[in-house]
């Protein structure tokens, strides 16, 4: 981002600045030298710049002190700026009667570019334009004197602000917001935002795992029970048979029925095999299906489907210069052909459908086969039922003849069969995965293994969510720690970079003294070649240090700011002036320098040979009036005894 000053204007400001406007022009010069004798409002101008850049809150007395005369009630200072080439107009309106002041901004973005109350500069600039920081680029020699003690944190603070390390603070704030959002999300799912939630879901998860263990044991028990019941069932059948065979005639009948049953079982098995084979052939299930298959095959043949022309034919045609009809295939025609090609079957689809059509047309089945098998099967089942009934009859006859043991065995068999049914039902309830069946059987996580497994999964997810919140918080703290360390490290490296650049410039500005910045902590700590810590520094040396530091600080910053300086060389000897005059012009894209005539020698004259310099001379012509002259010639020759400020 680049901020440039295009001009400024005074109304009713002390120092004869009644109605004065300085216009730096559309193609704003890189360097502007404004020659103003002492007492004509240089210091006032610097204060007004600082206030208007930063929106500083001025005291009523400060406002009243800016009054041009008792007659005027209101005053104004207006800056015209270009921020990334977009014009801004910022006004400081002063009410001398009540000592109040307001800031107004006109932006190109606002409707009609009208003035709106408040300082509305781009958001990105706002962190930079604090009153403290503004003093660094709207700079006067006064600051130079205190450069080594510019507030405990100003030097480091300036680096943080200018090099946007505050964005890392923003990142930490964003991380904090993410943690809050994650906690809210977790709260919505599990109400578990803290360790309490983790504990709660851990307990639920453990309980579900325990339930699964219990249900698995129950499953094993049922299987074992089933095995025992099946074995007992076989045993009872043998015992019952043994009772029957004790009676010779009953034995003969029983044996005959067994032989018949075995044959029926074999027949049933055979019919099932046939039935399954028929069942798996759609055309054999019912004549209706066969008819439909044939009808579809016939229909496709009749309609000559699939078409012999495939989508590929049209796609190829679209690439030809001419259609088969001889007309040219233009872009428009090509697009139409390609769009419509999609309604045709692709070649592989055509192949498959042709194969299907063939299969449909050739579907042949004896639709009576299934009827034959089903009828035979039904007959076999009926015979089996009859056989079973006859066997029951034999047992009944034996009981009626007084076989109490057989009666007991029969009862036990009935009970055993009932137990098998109960076991079967319990096993189904315990193991069914069928949701509809689970609902019918009122199966849930307490009595159904699949439901319990689902509950374990659910608890695990919630536990993970709850744990994640804690883990997320820990991870966030870790990220914040990294960001803070990065910020500290970046500040350290930038400080060092600025320090080394400062020292390079100092070596040029004050070569004899070997004055160096030893450390940039809160402020600048100086050392010279002779002493570790230098405290006694002349005004000129302070200014040299200030320039070296400020130019190093501002020159490579991502935000390009103008450098506005009052009396840049007044306290420097001529040699240092020349050094400063040679060094600093190249460091800023825009410099506005307020000078007095004595600074022309050694400093201002270093610009005379340069291009892209604007010279303005502003002086007071009376108690309440001022005059402006532009141009180098006037600047060079202007002579006026500096007024007493």
């Amino acid at each position: 981002m680049e901020l440039r000053v295009l001009g400024w204007r005074y109304e009713n400001i002390r120092g004869g600045l009644r109605n004065v406007e300085i216009d730096l022009g559309a193609g704003t010069s890189r360097w502007t030298l404004v020659q103003m004798p002492n007492g004509t409002g240089k210091t006032t101008t610097m204060s007004l710049f600082r206030a208007t850049f930063s929106g500083e809150n001025l005291s009523a007395q400060t406002v009243r002190d800016l009054r041009a005369s008792d007659e005027v009630k209101q005053g104004l200072f207006e800056m015209r700026l270009a921020i990334d080439a977009r014009p801004y107009r910022v006004q400081l309106r002063l009410n001398f009667e009540d000592g109040s002041h307001t800031y107004w901004t006109a932006r190109s973005e606002t409707r009609a570019g009208g003035l709106e109350e408040g300082l509305s500069l781009p958001t990105e600039l706002r962190p930079l334009l604090t009153p403290d920081f503004t003093r660094l680029f709207v700079f006067d020699g006064e600051l130079a004197k205190e450069i080594r003690a510019v507030g405990k944190d100003r030097a480091a603070g300036a680096i943080r602000t200018l090099y946007r390390l505050d964005r890392l603070d923003d990142l930490n704030r964003q991380v904090r917001r993410l943690v809050e959002a994650q906690q809210q999300k977790a709260a919505a799912i599990s109400s578990a935002t803290e360790k309490k939630g983790v504990t709660r879901w851990k307990r639920a998860y453990d309980a579900a795992l325990d339930r699964k263990v219990a249900l698995t044991q129950e499953q094993r028990r049922l299987l074992q029970e089933r095995k025992g019941l099946d074995a007992r069932s076989e045993e009872l059948t043998s015992l019952i048979n043994a009772r029957i065979v004790q009676d010779g005639s009953l034995k003969t009948r029983k044996d005959a029925l067994e032989v018949e049953r075995e044959a029926l079982d074999k027949r049933v098995l055979n019919l099932i095999a046939q039935g399954m084979s028929l069942l798996r052939t759609p055309a054999k299930i019912h004549p209706r299906l066969l008819e439909r298959l044939r009808a579809l095959g016939g229909k496709l043949t009749e309609l000559k489907l699939p078409k012999t022309i495939s989508a590929e034919f049209f796609r190829e045609l679209a690439e030809q210069p001419e259609c088969v009809c001889g007309r040219p295939v233009t872009e428009h025609v090509k697009e139409a052909i390609l769009n419509r090609a999609n309604i045709y079957l692709a070649e592989d689809q055509v192949l498959v459908i042709n194969k299907m059509k063939l299969a449909l047309r050739e579907s042949s089945a004896d639709a009576t086969e299934f009827t034959t098998v089903a009828t035979a099967l039904n007959g076999a089942l009926r015979d089996l039922r009859t056989n079973r009934h006859a066997q029951d009859q034999i047992e009944q006859e034996r009981i009626e003849s007084g076989d109490i043991e057989l009666e007991r065995l029969r009862k036990e068999k009935t009970t055993n069969e009932r137990s098998l049914e109960i076991n079967d039902d319990a096993f189904e309830k315990l193991t069914t995965r069928d949701h509809a069946r689970q609902a019918e059987l009122r199966a849930d996580e307490s009595n159904n293994l699949p439901c319990c497994e689902a509950e374990i999964k659910r608890c695990k997810q919630r536990l993970e969510t709850a744990t994640d919140t804690v883990r997320f918080g820990q991870q966030a703290s870790y990220v914040q720690k990294i960001v803070s360390e990065t910020s500290a490290l970046a500040l350290e490296r930038l400080r060092e970079r600025v320090r080394l650049a400062t020292n390079e410039k100092l070596a040029q500005l004050v070569p004899s003294e070997a004055l160096r910045v030893a450390r940039i902590s809160g402020a600048l700590e100086l050392e010279s070649g002779r002493t570790a810590t230098k405290t006694g520094v002349s005004e000129g040396q302070s200014l040299a240090v200030a320039y070296a530091f400020l130019t190093s600080l501002l020159a490579e910053a991502p935000t390009k700011l103008p450098f506005i300086v009052d009396s840049p060389a007044v306290s420097l000897d001529v040699q240092v002036r020349r050094e400063v005059g040679d060094l600093i012009p190249g460091l800023f894209d825009q410099m506005i320098m307020f000078v007095i005539s004595s600074e022309r020698e050694g400093f201002a004259d270093a610009f005379y040979e340069r291009e892209n310099v604007k010279y303005v001379t502003l002086w007071r012509t009376g108690e309440e009036t001022s005059e402006i002259h532009e141009g180098l010639d006037y600047f060079k020759t202007f002579h006026q005894v500096d007024a007493v400020a």
Binding site: V268, L269, N270, L271, I272, A273, G275, M276, L279, R280, T281, P282, A283, I285, H286, R288, L289, R292, L293, A295, L296, G297, K299, L300, L303, K304, L305, P306, K307, I343, Y344, L345, A346, D348, Q349, L351, V352, I353, K355, M356, A359, L360, S363, F370, T371, V373, A374, T375, L377, N378, G379, L381, E428, T432, R433, D434, H435, A436, R437, E440
Partner: protein, 157 residues
């Protein structure tokens, strides 16, 4: 190709699904297929909610691979009928085939065709449930299934 069993189907056939019992082998896909044939015959689609959420089988089992063209044909036929597409409407019939057929799939069906197959099975299973009790044996099921198809004629004797 992903097959979904109709809800309640597993419980319904629990007595006849044998892991591997020779000729008596009745597999889950048999149950799906029996339901599908009934649903297709009725030209009735079930709803997604009537299906299990998890796929029980991908692709046809060995015994059914030879029927892929026929099953695809039956589906196309059912869809033409369900959508009342005129038998002479060549363009619509071709469009329907384009929609349902995927030559690269082993089932010959597109994803849309696959979804429809599942929905026909869902409706078919309801019709089966309405017409018979949960079978105690495979032989009973075969007879009952045959009778379902021949409701209008006399029971096979």
């Amino acid at each position: 190709m992903s097959f979904l069993l109709p809800q309640g189907c597993r419980a319904f056939i629990k007595n006849i699904v044998a892991p591997n019992d020779g000729a008596k082998k009745f597999i889950l896909f048999d149950a799906f297929y029996c339901s599908l044939m009934v649903g297709i015959d009725a030209r009735k689609l079930g709803i997604k909610e009537d299906l299990e959420s998890e796929v029980f089988l991908n692709g046809y089992p060995e015994d059914y691979k030879g029927q892929a063209d026929i099953i695809a044909g039956l589906l196309i036929d059912a869809e033409l009928d369900r959508k009342a597409i005129e038998p002479e409407n060549k363009a619509s019939i071709e469009r329907e085939m384009t929609r349902l057929v995927n030559p690269t799939a082993t089932t010959r069906l597109s994803d849309t065709g696959n979804d429809l197959l599942n929905l026909y099975a869902a409706s078919g299973f309801k019709l089966i449930q309405d017409s018979m009790m949960a079978p105690a044996s495979l032989e009973e099921f075969l007879v009952a299934y045959y009778q379902l198809w021949h409701r209008d004629s006399a029971v096979a004797e």
